[in-house]
Amino acid sequence: MIHFRKITYIISGFLVLLSISAIAIWGFNLGIDFKGGSLLEIEYSEARPDASQIKEALKDFQIGELRIQPTGDKGFLLRFKEIDETTHQRILKGLVQSDRASEKRFDSIGPILGKELQKRALIAISLAVLMIISYIGWAFRKVSRPISSWKYGIVAIVALLHDVLIPSGVFSALGYLKGVEIDALFVTALLTILGFSVHDTIVVFDRVRENLKKNPGVNFEMTVDKSVRETIARSINTSLTVLFVLFALLFFGGETTRFFSLALIIGIFFGTYSSIFLASPLLVSWNNWSQKRKNKFKI
């Protein structure tokens, strides 16, 4: 596993770079729970009218930019700026009277609430990263040879960033190309990926720790390679079971959790990939590099 590390570094590096550029260029398409606004889902009893008719019916309301998206067979999702209840009722009257239709869902969120959620999301993610770093540092505090415990932590964080950046990049692209929105559930998915990514990396590192204790004489690269081989069946099988349920959720679950499960699927896949092909090889590379530096100084 460890021998392919140049190739896997290139693949991971490329994907991460791609994701970062996607985020830098396109940013995220924030949903209404982050930026405020209204979302109205309406369903017609017969065939739905043309989107232009809806635009016509709503043109007199001060609702900012109106985006219309068909949903299901007979429905529309309408997005516009946040409105008060009176305007909502008037809009509804306009829409329902012209055709036989019923409102299935209506959300209107003020911009202040959205800002707040943005802030809390950022805090939650930073806190999660911090707590996980300290946890890894603590869990591996007794391992110091040949590389010190904090390096396990750093490597786990690199893997973790990798696992979070790639789904973020994919969703940035999806947002630009398909109008997929980032909502609170997406942040939830990211945090879950964080947990899972570390979970997976820890199992491999645990084995490294155990093998180091068992055979102190063996060279580090071989020990890591052995540990990865020993845990690879578990890593893959665990991810498989999680991916199975996520695919079930993607195909059979409701609209609400569709993109949530997609984000998780991407994250879990790369989480497992990175614990095998990125985190463990990085440990070896780091060790080799510091070994080389030490030797240089000796000469």
């Binding site: 003020g110 559930l185 998780l264």
Partner: protein, 440 residues
């Protein structure tokens, strides 16, 4: 051994019971076990989640907390008036703002409900403005300035928050309907002071910002009772006291966010969630049995017991299930088997080292533990943070995932070990080797 077997049989029966207990609500309408139903979130049963901002600019300090508590009670009463099952009304302080969150489940006409809450009357008592101030404002208003100031009256601290009850009465001489107000003990004192200080002057009563009556105070009123004799028709008076009795709002409120889901949509989401859960469970079970054979089968039994436990916990606590919560539970099904996979892989390794089947099993359970513990802690960290981060949608997810991680540590380890060891497989028969997927 006998003890282990007894425990295994007990766990097995418990599992069968739990599955039955949790399947009942979906098949039979009337059953003893339906007394403790699943609690569904708004997004699954339909309903409205409303966030109001309270205008507390006129209050400070402890008064704010008190006013907010009063506001909550009043709105709770309002909501109860139109028969919402278990409404959730809570006060939240965030970023210097006081908010009120109301969750109305299963309301057929949400828009009507919003209107009712918004229309709740705001009652105020005002006293006469000093003459110089009045003249100043009036002359300013002639020049189109200070237009939104009331030249005649100033607000006092006496508002509907101090109202105990209201009743209709008829004036014995004119037969005109009047409205009787009775204040709480605190309100009584304020009203007494107010009337004492304003004898011979007018005290105006404002409803929703408009004056309805401005009687002249003749003497100090100590009993905390006031009478409004505006020009009411009997019907108007009756509506007014109904509105006042269900609660005058202590502070004005403004709706800043609403999320409503129709009941049909919610039901659809729930159905899909259950389908996804069952499908996920079946695929994971098939995978475990095909890959790990007999131990895999045992793990599936443990997984079913796990699911039974989880659903029971959801009903007992109770955990409010949302679409995201169900997703968390489904995800936890996939994660719950991780401990089993760790153990079985370890078992295979130990077996390869030449240990006997029983020993390898014991070692597998023992040595896998540190990994199981360490890896689950990181999941618990994220669930904890998510719970804190949470808008209510996410809280549901964090809660089910967090409980799932905890329960699965028990079910995957204890339940699987009890079953496997209770079977007492020690014979190295061909069939045993096949069942455990190991070479001799």
């Amino acid at each position: 051994m006998a003890g282990k077997r007894f425990l295994a049989i007990f766990l097995f029966l418990l599992g069968v019971f739990l599955v039955y207990f949790n399947a009942v609500p979906f098949v039979a309408q009337k059953s003893f076990f339906n007394r403790l139903p699943f609690k569904l979130g708004l997004d699954l049963r339909g309903g409205a989640h409303l966030v109001y901002k309270a205008d507390i600019s006129s209050l400070e300090g402890a008064d704010i907390d008190e006013a907010m508590a009063g506001l909550r009670d009043v709105i709770e009463r309002r909501i109860n008036l139109f028969g919402v099952a278990e409404p959730v009304v809570q006060v939240e302080k965030r970023g210097g703002e006081q908010r009120l969150i109301a969750e109305l489940a299963g309301v057929s006409d949400i828009n009507e409900a919003i209107k009712m809450i918004g229309e709740t009357p705001f009652l105020e008592f005002k006293t006469e403005r000093p003459v110089e101030e009045k003249d100043a404002i009036l002359s300013a208003q002639e020049k189109q300035e200070r237009l939104n100031e009331d030249p005649y009256f100033v607000s006092t601290e006496l508002t509907g928050r101090f109202l105990k009850k209201a009743a209709v009465d008829f004036d014995p001489t004119t037969a005109q309907p009047t409205v009787l107000l009775e204040f709480t003990d605190e309100g009584k004192e304020i009203f007494a002071r107010l009337t004492k200080e304003n004898i011979g002057k007018r005290v105006a009563i404002y409803l929703d910002g408009a004056p309805i009556s401005a009687p002249v105070v003749r003497e100090e009123i100590k009993d905390g009772k006031a009478q409004i004799s505006g020009q009411f028709t009997p019907k108007e008076a009756k509506t007014l006291i109904q509105r006042l009795n269900s609660g005058a709002l202590p502070v004005p409120i403004e709706l800043i966010s609403q999320q409503t889901v129709g009941a049909a949509l919610g039901q659809n989401v729930l159905k899909k969630g259950i389908t996804a859960g069952v499908a996920g469970l079946i695929v994971v079970a098939l995978f475990l049995i095909i890959w790990y054979r007999f131990p895999g089968f045992i793990a599936v039994a443990a997984l079913i017991i796990y699911a039974g436990f989880m659903l029971t916990i959801f009903r007992f606590i109770p955990v409010t299930l949302t679409a995201a919560g169900i997703a968390g539970f489904i995800l936890s099904i996939g994660m719950a088997v991780d401990a089993n996979i760790l153990i079985f892989e370890r078992f295979k390794e130990e077996k390869k080292l030449g240990k006997s089947l029983q020993n390898a099993l014991r070692e597998g359970f023992g040595r896998a533990w540190p990994s199981i513990r360490d890896s689950n802690i990181s999941s618990l960290i994220t669930s904890g943070l998510l719970f804190w981060f949470g808008a209510s949608v996410i809280k549901g997810f964090a809660l089910t995932l967090g409980i799932g991680v905890l329960v699965s540590m028990f079910s995957a380890i204890t339940v699987t070990r009890t079953f496997l060891l209770a079977l007492g497989i020690s014979e190295e028969k061909k069939i045993t080797r096949f069942l455990f997927g190991v070479k001799s």
